[in-house]
Homo-oligomer: 138 residues x 2
């Protein structure tokens, strides 16, 4: 691949698939596609369970709501399917400053206890998350 | 990450974002996110333009229809947004045999002149493509 211009994005950490019931959905990804489960988390504040599968060069996250909130609302409105892309950044404050300079962005601890935020922009309806990641964690 | 069980999938090649007009959408991905364009293809048989951006560990594909077909129909029905995931496999015939043993799967030459097919299964509504890729190409 060619050299990229200066970008705060170093890669894609995961793509998220919104599902009603992780336990019901997991067998396809694990047993048919053959992807290993690498983490199974709960984010109490967001009211979601987050299960991560190793797809080789990035993770697939299955996300399922157990309480009212943005994810439950998205499931009601749009149903199951691809939900968002999470970009890896080296320094959250630098990336937020570059990608959302005019917005109030809330950075929290998300799945796998990593710093995370969602960007206000939704180009082509694309929901974009950022996560700060040490490559040593990867 | 932990060792994966035997899987024909070696990684994710690209995620596709369905857009109405690639020229109108491109500036956000290229100039705001800072992702470099690595290929700009037309698939005449599918009636689509396919533009690939380097997201580091995989590509983001912008796909836009210029003729009637499955992609134009999806755009009419669902609008813009995340459309499918394309998994990398080492050997297409082996992967299709493992992941769609009972189906008639049509393997064609897709974007970047690579062997490609779409799987009949749509777990949680997820549209899955396979592409055969030599790691030397990557």
């Amino acid at each position: 691949m060619t050299t990229r211009p200066a970008s705060p994005i170093t890669g894609i950490d995961h793509i998220a698939i919104l599902v009603r019931d992780i336990d019901a959905s997991l067998p396809y990804y694990r047993d048919v596609l053959g992807l290993a489960v690498v983490a199974d988390d709960v984010n109490e504040a967001a009211g979601v369970r987050l299960l991560y599968l190793d797809a080789g060069n990035l993770a697939i996250q299955l996300v399922s709501p157990f309480a009212a909130g943005a994810i439950a609302a998205a499931l009601d409105e749009h149903g199951e399917g691809l939900h968002h892309v999470c970009f890896k950044v080296e320094e959250m404050s630098v990336a937020v400053g570059a990608l959302a300079p005019a917005a109030d962005v809330v950075v929290t601890r998300g799945g796998r206890n990593r710093l995370t935020c969602f960007l206000p922009d939704r180009p082509n309806g694309l929901i974009m998350e950022l996560t700060e990641i040490d490559e040593a964690d990867d």
